[in-house]
Symmetry: C2
Subunit: 250 residues, 2 copies
């Protein structure tokens, strides 16, 4: 028995999120089907972050146990030969049998992409939030600074989560912009349910002038989801990478 860790890239457009569900295609289902085709084994996949429908990944991490004799580094090629082309394995390796992609993660990084156009968005509509609104990026940047730090992020957690501890440490929350894009990079030791999209939805309200930049402090202090802005659309969100101590070999 070996535990295999995979790093994955996927286009979430055609899937109802990562986690397996009845009567809808998911990333987990395609991966488990791929493993079954290769080995006949019914693997149970563990993952670092259960991305929602339409959300993309550049570096999702999953793990599963197998008795097959496929060499760990060859799993990448084996799975890519049976997976749909919108899911690609970037790396495969054997890890310690206790390795858990979510519990052992020490840092996760997300990207949220805004494409500054409303017209001529054919090639972006599934890969960014497209808007031609005039946004005050300076004010949004100020709000970002107030998000960094160890805080209770309950105001940025969607209902439907069973989490009890809402304290997370955001080590980085930055906006970069050019004529075409606004990109938010956010890194933390962990994220609450829909946290990045609610943060982005709130920053957009700041950018529109509906909230002053400093209001983000009050939102955080309130620990109340109804104080924050709406949830930004999924297609702009990318799970970029997940970091582990000892490169994930535990």
């Amino acid at each position: 028995m070996a535990r295999i860790k995979l790093i994955l890239e996927y286009d979430g457009s055609n899937y109802h999120g990562f986690q397996i569900q009845k009567n809808a295609p998911t990333i987990q289902e395609k991966l488990e089907q791929g493993i079954f085709r290769l080995t006949g084994e019914k693997a149970s996949l563990l993952c670092a972050g259960r991305t929602d429908a339409g959300v993309h990944a550049l570096g999702q991490v999953v793990a599963f146990d197998t008795q097959s004799n496929i060499p760990p580094a060859k799993w990448k090629f084996a799975l890519n030969s049976v997976l749909p082309s919108d899911i690609q394995v970037l790396d495969s390796q054997e890890v310690n049998p206790v390795f858990h992609p979510r519990y052992h993660a020490v840092k996760k990084k997300y990207l949220y992409l805004i494409y500054r156009r409303e017209q001529g968005t054919t090639f972006y509509r599934k890969y960014a939030f497209c808007t031609a609104e005039l946004l005050n990026v300076g004010a949004m940047r100020k709000s970002c600074q107030m998000i960094e730090g160890r805080r209770n992020f309950r105001s940025f957690c969607a209902s439907g989560s069973s989490v009890k501890d809402f304290v997370r440490t955001v080590t980085r929350c930055r906006l970069r912009e050019n004529k075409s894009y606004i990109k938010m990079e956010i890194e933390a030791d962990g994220f609450l349910y829909k946290m990045v999209r609610i943060i982005m939805g709130t920053l957009l309200e700041v950018g529109r002038g509906n909230y002053p930049a400093e209001y983000i402090k009050e939102i955080i202090g309130a620990q109340d989801r109804s104080m924050a802005g709406p949830t930004a659309p999924p297609q702009g969100l990318y799970l970029v990478s997940v970091d582990y101590l000892n490169e994930g070999t535990v």
Copy 2:
């Protein structure tokens, strides 16, 4: 009766090319269905370039006649409300009733995109030719220079074309590259069937060292398709724009 000119952007991934055909979705079909839904009229669409299956457009030009009283500039919004999201109208205007998008075109511009990776191509596989081959871009550039000019391009015309005159004037054929991409921009007064993809396929052979850069002159001189390289894949090709005198109002 008014003739309406549209400028279109589309993602060709899910279509069997521009031109209408039985039992397969095409761009033309979706546009004619859209016009029918808005007006009840069975329009016959004229287009500037019949793109192949999987080929994209950033500025395709089409025209059709209508008796409806939709104001010309509103056609853009009306059609976008009924078209699938991978086809977008960027502009609509009334033109002279004799305007023909192909016959009156004075210049067309295409882009061919190579993404220099074989792995981690999930978001590019439908929008570029992905390859990690080491290509001699300097040699490819030399070949590009030999393509510019007024020449008989029969060697770069796929069979299945009814064209008799193979002479075209390529006013520009340039390669730009960076770490991630190689882009070919090519402009001419007109293009033969699959000409851009055959030129790119031939340039790739030069880049691989299979042909010397100067061999392109012999290929042109031979006026024989079998001398040129293979046809490069469709997903890297974009119809960028079509130019007319008097902004296409004839």
